[in-house]
């Protein structure tokens, strides 16, 4: 029977003494005079499988020479080993080398630094750490889709290339088919010759288009790549990353927060269930408070506090912050940390932010000073989600756009959403990599993206 290591781990108790055929790679090996062990991995499940081979095999000498990283075929018999660490092993009846891995194979069974592994991003998934990271990433993505699909949200593919450079969420990459060695020779660039007949950019958000879809489907979400051309080389920023942006008609800020809370809890629960091997690994080798923290999040109601109250609480704490918290201003990392890790010890939504530090499309509150926005801060990691109720009043929205120098003519279509059957609506955005970092305890965004793009780094 051709099978997988995953199938064996799930069914070994029924398979004692069964013949099986497996295809995979040598993760590690140990050769003795009359027998040997191979740590066999086929990518289908996190743990390796112990394969034992003995001198009686025809090609025993050749098997002993098989190197770490090689691909092999294994025929053998399942043997239950209830007294050992692994509950079963394979007694090989045949082992065949398929693809060799020479001595210079970079992924040897020893500790490699993450910096080194980033340089071999095409091979690093063959290590325990990156096997675990990228399986969690996959399962978390599936969990997102399941969550929204079960609730009737329509999955919407918003465009990546956009003609708007004024969405206001950050610097943008330009997209062009012009020959850069020829532009700049005239006074102005002739965009009539560019592919789209005008300047175009990589999107920084799918929110505005998602709003259009929410006005037809009530509840929608996007899950796709977004881009930031910011030269910030931090552990938490990448130039290309994936975002989840739900948008809900007939939903106010309270409803928005409820969906965000339900989603975060759903995804954590799902990953704890589907990736227990991986989570155990992270908890043992990456962050020993991981499981405790994730379980706390699942089991706590998320706190809700206004920005004004948050500043008051921070001031009242008398904590010696480097930056004094101020009404009307953004929170610093140290403030966020104090709120989540000391004051609340749970995730906390900060609501009703000063309008001057938030985007033009957020709903102006009756005080005319704050907007119906929310940030979700999580213990140990800071901001995970940002969202808001959207301004549905045409006149207020246009006034805000003027104040903030947003070019109204480019957004006529967006204003139409208020002109024709507009309604209360809300949404939020979550950077998917931030979630994966939170789920794994891995602290550098470069280590949760298969082939990360950052300033001066676009390899592979």
């Amino acid at each position: 029977m051709e099978t997988t290591v995953k199938y064996l781990y799930e069914n070994y108790q029924q398979l004692n003494q069964q013949k099986v055929t497996l295809y995979g790679w040598v993760r590690n090996k140990r050769s003795q005079k009359n027998f040997g062990f191979i740590n066999f991995h086929d990518g289908t499940v996190f743990p390796t499988l112990q394969v034992v081979y003995e001198e009686s095999l025809d090609n025993f000498k050749d098997i002993q020479k098989i190197r770490v990283g090689s691909s092999i075929e294994v025929l053998g018999i399942v043997v239950l080993t209830p007294d050992m660490k692994q509950p079963f092993e394979i007694k090989a009846t045949k082992i065949q080398l398929l693809g060799d891995a020479p001595e210079n194979y970079p992924i040897q069974p020893k500790r490699h630094t993450r910096e080194f592994l980033r340089e071999v991003a095409h091979l690093r998934m063959r290590t325990n750490l990156f096997q675990a990271v990228f399986r969690v990433r996959s399962e978390a993505a599936i969990a997102i889709h399941k969550f929204f699909n079960e609730r009737g949200f329509v999955y919407t593919h918003t465009p990546l290339i956009t003609g708007n450079d004024g969405e206001g969420a950050g610097s943008m990459f330009q997209v062009t088919t012009l020959d850069l060695s020829k532009t700049g020779k005239e006074k102005t660039v002739d965009y009539s010759k560019d592919f789209f007949g005008k300047p175009t950019y990589l999107t920084v958000t799918g929110q505005l288009e998602a709003e259009a879809y929410a006005m037809a489907f009530k509840n929608v979400y996007t899950f796709g790549p977004t881009f930031r051309a910011e030269k910030s080389n931090t552990q938490r920023h990448a130039s290309e990353f994936w975002m989840i942006e739900p948008e809900m008609a007939f939903c106010d800020l309270e409803g928005d927060m409820q969906v965000a809370e339900d989603m975060v809890k759903y995804v954590i629960n799902y990953v704890l269930n589907t990736c227990h091997f991986e989570i155990d690994f992270f908890n043992a080798y990456v962050d020993q408070s991981l499981k405790e923290r994730l379980e706390l999040v699942i089991n706590s109601p998320f706190a809700r506090i206004t920005h004004e109250e948050a500043i008051n609480k921070l001031l009242a704490s008398k904590h010696p912050f480097e930056n004094t918290p101020k009404h009307g201003q953004d929170l610093n990392t140290e403030h966020e940390k104090y709120l989540t890790d000391v004051l609340f010890q749970t995730p906390v939504f900060i609501t009703n932010w000063p309008k001057d530090i938030k985007a033009f499309y957020m709903k102006l509150n009756d005080d005319e000073k704050t907007v119906a926005a929310m940030d979700l801060l999580v213990p140990g990691s800071g901001e995970l989600i940002g969202g808001s109720q959207r301004e549905e009043r045409l006149d207020v929205l246009m006034k805000r756009m003027e104040e903030m120098h947003v070019p109204i003519e480019a957004f006529e279509w967006y204003l139409d959403l208020r002109r024709y059957g507009g309604t209360v609506h809300s949404g939020f955005g979550m950077g998917f990599e931030r979630l994966v970092m939170y789920l794994t305890g891995v602290e550098n965004i470069r280590d949760v993206i298969p082939f990360p793009r950052t300033p001066n780094n676009c390899e592979f």
Copy 2:
């Protein structure tokens, strides 16, 4: 009870005489002297809901003036109507206008051309046709994820921005942060000042990176946007579209075809089950052979035939083709159509293509003239999937790259996948929009993408 039209359609038999609250939009309306009807739609399910209101309501005169497209709140009572076309309706106890839609609202209850609706892409989802298209698109995407996840495939996010311009699948967009009004003044463009320190492009495929992941996880898939900067204005080409690209280690061309066949059948089945209202609509108003064709695909084993045999059969048919089929050459649309619609009347895999018309990474067959490639042709639509077994032999691959002028130095990482534990592996690519067109009968790709991008067209 606040509820949705979807919930009512699924549970109306238990809800007779229940009080409900609904939020949505006026799709159509009819006012009589003493009563009126509203076709109410809330985006949660395809059909509309009939709301009846009578003169006895306080604001009867105002309700009569509510216009098509407006958003409203409806309180009312569920009334079963077993003798009427709709199985139930709502007898309103209160109707409140939330957001008006003035007389110039573009989406009136009449027939609009698809060309007109493309110009209001931010509103067209409020019509039956585009409600149906974009819900099917969403459910088909979910079906893809379910199919691969249930089979243990790891979902992999391959990069969108790439430094490789030689992947060979088509023209590419350049991505830059250089100021185009300033480049071109020196002899060469100084890419050390560009964001990534070198020229970068939007990817045309995630396959090569997916191969790296298959060498660690055995079975992986990508599902993300890809780009083509080709100035071809056809019904079947867009500049930005989504692709599904599975990649499987220890899998040959036979296995590859089996996964492709299983996937296509799974997705069609899933959409027939989850979108029966929508499929019925398409079958009535878009393509009256749609359901029959989809059911044929589900119930037929897909045919398999080599390119050589296909040419032989086409020649033997004596059919008066405009272009005579030729050994060693690509098939024309008329040839594909004859194979699927006349000769086989089922989907058909064409295998073992002449090497000169296929990509460098496809496995060279022992005849050294053909490669282990496959195209899946489907009745009524042509090519849906293209795939191949990949060349795992380092020396053969390098020779093919040289012959086809692929710059080897940029692909050293790709060659590493053959140097270190390489193995037989295969994969394929399916353009997601092609699938949505096939599922809906809609013939223009611009009508299955929320905000399509084509040459000279990047609106919204």
